[in-house]
Structures are given as C-alpha cells and as structure tokens.
C-alpha cells in the first residue's frame, strides 16, 4: 500500500472517482493548471481535460450555484472553495438551495454534489485563512458535513461523499495536509458516512474530536495515560448526520466527557455533543461535560498557538473531569 499525505489522499480520491465515473467534474478557483493552492487537484486537468477539471471566476456563489445546476442535471460536481473562510459568499447557495432542493421539490430535483474546502488554523493565516466554520453548516438539515483526520479516511470518505445522493460539505483539516503520511489503499473504496472512528480505547474519559484536533487529543491522551488516566478517543468524522447512538454509547462507557474543537465555543459543534448527552445520558455522567475549544473571538495571527487548543489544554480538561 502506498503511503500518502492527507492532501495526496484527497488527490487520489478525486482521481479515483473521476476514473470511475465520467460525470464527476472538479472546479473552483485555481484548481486547473495550478493544481489548487494546496495542490489537492494537481494533475487532474492534464489527465481528464479542461471540461472535467477547470478554473472558475472568483465567485463562490457562482461555484456552488452552478454545481447545484450540474448536479440536478446528471453531473457529479466536486467544487473546491479555496479556503473555508471564503465559503460565506456561497452560504445562501448551500443553505437555501443545495440543502433544501430535494425537500422543496418533493424529490423531483436533487443536488448530489460535494463542496470541498480546507479549514482550520495552524498556518499563521489570521482571521481569514484559519477558521473552522463547521457549526454554521451543521445547523442545516439536508446537508451532510464530513471531516477526515487521516489519509485513509480522507480518501474513503471523499469517495463516499462523491457517490452520496445528497450534498456534502467536505472539510479538510489543512493543518494535517502534510503533517502525516500513512498507508492508503489503492483504487476504489469507500468509508461509510455517519460512522464514528474509535481512535483509542480507554475506560476513564471519553474524548470527542475531529479533524486536526485528533492528533492533539492523541498526544494529550498519551500524557494522561502516563499518569494513569485512560482515555477513549472518538473521531466523529461525519458531523451531520451524526451517529448519535454511537456518541451516547461512547459517553456512557466512561461517564466523563471532553469535547474538543478549534472553532469558537459559543454555539460550536461541541455544544451539540454536550446537549445530546445532557438530554439522553445525563444520569451516566460523573463529571461536568467539558469543552476545549477556540475562544469566542475572531482567529488571531501571531498568537494563534494560544488560540488553538493544544495537548496541554486538552490534558487539563481530561485531568479536570477525571478528578471530579
């Protein structure tokens, strides 16, 4: 099995899907000859031609809006938004159109499409090249939201998203694009959406996380283990529709929960995890449900390492709930 970085796995997934299905088209800003600013689409135009991988004008509204039109008429568009921070001009097209099309037309028209975009901090990108906007989208019925944290998942989940009959927002943790290399199966395979990944087993504390926070939590869990606290780590992978049963089960197993994400805390995705547990499994809880998150401020630049949860902050929360 080849070992690939996460961004190479994304590239591999796109190539695999395009080879498999002529209707898959890839487009966005600079995805053609330049291969995308992170090189996720490198080589696609040369292999598949300009009709299947091409640059667009600088309009996210246009990118997503035309993707909806292509999707309803038989293509399988995979649109790239250059940074998740720049997806907001397309918010209306995603939330009002892609997500609601099947419902409002009683299933007559549908939008099977993927919007891929790199998200998160760690590249000194300041306010507008660092955001984690998943919660904005997870409040949107009709949409699916997927975030991989390993190269193998990136490929399997992306192919599954492309083949999914519903619109999928596929958020790629840019901090992990080149951080790790790992084995990725060749050829076509899918990782089912709406399934959790158990990163680590443990009986004392359950840590829920996703994307770039997964390795941070792993490091914290190792340190916790060194002082005798065994953490289970659950990589949520698909945030919407979430495997709620799986989350509740994992929470019940330890009775102590830490939820971790980079995005601001207030109304962040972590709130939903806490609320789910507080509504359905509070009697199992032996400690407060802790959240370790970005602050409720815009994303800073120079001090981003203080803003982003690191293993120290996660460990602190683990120790807190473990000792409660």
């Amino acid at each position: 099995m080849p070992t690939l970085t996460l961004v190479q796995a994304v590239n591999d997934a796109l190539k695999t899907a395009m080879r498999n299905d002529d209707s898959v088209v890839v487009f966005g800003e600079d995805v053609g000859p330049k291969g995308g600013v992170f090189l996720a689409t490198e080589g696609l135009t040369s292999e598949f031609g300009e009709q299947r991988c091409f640059d667009t004008p600088l309009s996210e509204d246009g990118i997503v809006g035309t993707a909806v039109g292509m999707a309803m008429n038989g293509l399988r568009p995979v649109a790239e938004i250059q940074f998740q921070d720049f997806i907001f001009p397309a918010f209306d097209q995603i939330v009002s159109e892609a997500a609601k099309l099947r419902y409002r037309s009683g299933g007559q028209y549908t939008a099977p499409m993927v919007v891929r975009t790199p998200y998160g901090g760690g590249i000194r990108g300041g306010l507008y090249h660092s955001q984690s906007g998943e919660a904005y989208f997870c409040h949107t019925p009709g949409l699916k939201v997927v975030i991989p944290s390993t190269p193998a998942d990136a490929k399997g989940l992306l192919i599954a998203s492309i083949e999914d009959p519903d619109p999928v927002l596929f958020l790629e943790p840019k901090a992990l694009y080149r951080a790790v290399k790992a084995e990725v199966p060749e050829g076509h395979y899918t990782t089912p959406l709406s399934t959790l990944r158990t990163v680590r087993k443990g009986t004392d504390v359950t840590v829920f996380c996703y994307g770039a926070m997964v390795p941070v939590c792993e490091k914290a869990a190792e340190q916790a283990a060194a002082s005798g606290t065994e953490c289970a780590i659950v990589d949520l992978r698909t945030l919407l529709p979430l495997d709620e049963e799986g989350v509740l089960e994992a929470a019940k197993q330890t009775g102590r929960v830490v939820v971790v994400h980079e995005a601001p805390r207030f109304c962040g995705f972590g709130a939903e995890i806490s609320a789910l547990i507080a509504e359905n499994a509070i009697e199992y809880m032996e400690a407060p449900i802790a959240r370790v998150t970005g602050f409720d401020t815009p994303f800073p630049n120079t001090l981003e390492h203080h803003y982003m949860p690191d293993h120290r902050r996660v460990l602190d929360a683990i120790e807190h709930v473990a000792a409660y």
């Binding site: 809006g65 909806v68 292509m70 099947r102 009709g142």
Partner: protein, 372 residues
C-alpha cells in the same frame, strides 16, 4: 448588439407587416388560450385567497405575453428555470391547472408535498419546470450549471431562466451571467422588467439604461423586447435559443412589461403605483394586443373572449374544487426528502411526533407508528 428600442412585431392595430410567427393557427390559439388560463387562474386564486381558502397568490396580469411568448420558443426537452410569476410557461407546455392547484392548497398531491408556499411549483413533466425557490436570483447559476451539463454531454438542449428587474441586483444574476459568459453555455436569460420589485421602481433598482445593457458586462448580446407583444417575445427568445443550440452561448433578453396588479395578494399597490402609470399600461394590455392580431388574421372575434375565458375558468375552478377535496400531506412528509434516506435522528423525531399525536388523540398520528 444591445438595442434600447424594444423589438416589437404586433402593431397597435393587430397587423404585423408580414411577420411569420412560426406557429400554426392552432398554435396561435393555444398561446391565446394559455394567456386566458393564466388570467382565469389568477382570478380564481384571488377569490380563493380573499375567501380564506388558500393563503397566498401571485397575480400575473400584464405579463402573460412575456411568459407565453417565451415558453413557445422552447421544446419540451429544454429546461425552464422560472420565477414565481411564470406558471404560464408551465401551462403552455401542458401542465394541468389541477397540478398547480394542488400546490396552491399545499395538499397531499402537491409535487412539493405541501412544503412550499403557494405558487412555488415544481414539475418534471411534460417539461422540466424547475422547482421555484423564494430567494431571488439563486436559480440563475442553477440554469448555468444545468446548461453546462447539456453542453459537455453534447445535448441539443437549452435552459431558459426567467427573473425580474429586481432579480438583476441579486448575487445570482452576477455570478450566473458571468459564468455563463465565460463558459459559453446554452442558456437564455429572460429578465422580465415589469417595472417593479414589490414597491421599488426600476430607477431605484439600477442606474443603468434598462437591463439589456447589463449583458455587455458579461460579454454576451443583450436584447430589449416589448414584453406585451407575444410574437416579439417569441421571436427574440427563439433567436437566443437558436444561438444557444448552435453553441454560440448565452443571451440576455429584457422584456419590458408592466405588473398590472399587486406584487401578491398581500400587497396594496395603490400605496406606491401612480394611477396614471397603471392606466397608461392598461392601454397596452398584452392579451388585447394579441386578440387584435388574431382578429386581423381572422382567428378571433370579440365574442370569443368571454366564451374561451369561461372555458378556461371552468377548468380552473374544477381544478380548485378537486384540489380542495384532497387532504393535507401525511404527517411523515415532514421528515422525508430531507435526505435520500431518512437518517436515524429524523426517524426518532418522527416517531416522537407520532407518539405525541397519539397521546393527545390527534388523528394525524395514523396508527401511531412512524412508517419510515
């Protein structure tokens, strides 16, 4: 390429200087009957709304020729991306009034399953009449994307997308027009300039000299047409459709017309529409204009109007009656079509809803088991 003087065909007296409409006598009468059906539909819905039978409706008086003229330039294999004021296009291509009435009542046979407001139609047959969305302008990029698919597959199809003067200010206008220009896809943009965006007159909508000129910003031809002249609309749309089919790319058409009623049944246009302006446009009624044309061709006599209108109205009223007799959508319809499959959390929410209904003795619960 951009003509500020609107193209027109039918003279005030009904003559046309030998214009070939490209329609048989029966075709011309079908167009006429469609306009009358639009009027009958409007009249009926207005009454139903005033009587509290339906919640809302959107009148079309004044713009029937634009709708029907444009629709007549399409084949049934083409796609229509309509605005909420365009159901005349669906009628022209054979959608039955009763199918529309199911939507007006939001009943169980509404294609939208009672989820959308009235006048937000969606049809697949006999022509793709794309599901109408309330947010203005979002459907322009959809038409462009659908046309891109037609182009890459080498199909002999076009997409026609219709929107209002207000719609030109929307985001979708800018991105849709721009992408269409760059991609050279087979799409026709039909801007129905009916003078108003609710209460906002055109001069407060844009400082440009009309709307067709906006085509230049996107490198495509822009054409202005008299929107109250069915044959002129049919002609310019046909030309744009032929250009699109020939791979020559998109066209923007501005049809100049006038909304002779309120924006909707909720609107009181006397608050802002000058009475003289309305009177002026009433003189140019598009249905009367077409009648003079038919009369000049010997296809119509004044006494035909009442009879044909009555026929149309009878059909519409029967449709309303039928739709009114259909019950509301089933309770589970709230939870379906969110995704292709009903996910676990929606199954739970559905079951909880059924449980509550049953406990409270609400008939909507059926047998109380969420059926999905």
């Amino acid at each position: 390429m951009t003509a500020t003087q609107p193209v027109s065909v039918i003279e005030p007296d009904g003559t046309t200087q030998g214009h070939d409409p490209g329609l048989s006598d029966e075709g011309l009468l079908h167009a006429y009957r469609t306009m009358l059906t639009v009027r009958a539909f409007d009249d009926t819905c207005m009454k139903l709304q005033r009587a509290g039978r339906i919640g809302f409706s959107i009148p079309n008086k004044g713009i029937e020729a634009t709708q029907v003229g444009a629709a007549s330039a399409l084949r049934r294999t083409d796609w229509l991306f309509p605005s909420y004021r365009d159901f005349g296009m669906a009628l022209y291509h054979g959608v039955e009034p009763v199918e529309m009435m199911h939507n007006m009542y939001g009943n169980a046979r509404d294609t939208s399953k009672g989820r959308q407001m009235p006048v937000h139609f969606s049809f697949l047959d006999p022509i793709h009449f794309y599901s109408i969305s309330s947010p203005i302008g979002t459907h322009l990029p959809h038409a462009v994307g659908a046309a891109y698919a037609m182009k890459v597959r080498g199909e002999d199809k076009v997409a026609l997308v219709s929107f209002g003067d207000g719609g030109t200010s929307s985001l979708g206008f800018h991105s849709g027009m721009n992408f269409a220009g760059v991609w050279k896809v087979p799409v026709v943009f039909l801007c129905q300039n009916n003078g108003w965006a609710i209460s906002c007159p055109s001069e407060a909508q844009t400082a440009s000299d009309g709307y067709a000129v906006k085509a230049m910003a996107y490198g495509m031809p822009g054409v202005t047409v008299d929107g109250n002249d069915l044959l002129a609309v049919r002609q310019v749309v046909s030309e744009a459709v032929e250009r699109a089919r020939a791979g020559e790319g998109p066209t923007l058409i501005e049809a100049r017309t006038f909304r002779m009623g309120g924006h909707s049944t909720s609107d009181d246009p006397t608050r802002y529409v000058p009475a003289e302006l309305l009177a002026e446009w009433e003189e140019r009624d598009p249905v009367a204009r077409f009648e003079r044309y038919l009369e000049a061709r010997g296809l119509w006599k004044p006494e035909d109007r009442d009879r044909l209108y009555a026929e149309a109205a009878a059909k519409v009223n029967a449709a309303a009656k039928e739709a009114e007799g259909v019950g509301p959508p089933a309770l589970e319809s709230i939870f379906t079509d969110v995704y292709a499959d009903v996910p676990a959390h929606l199954r739970r929410q559905g079951q909880a809803t059924f449980d509550l209904a049953r406990r409270k003795g609400d008939a909507a619960a059926g047998d109380g088991e969420f059926p999905l």
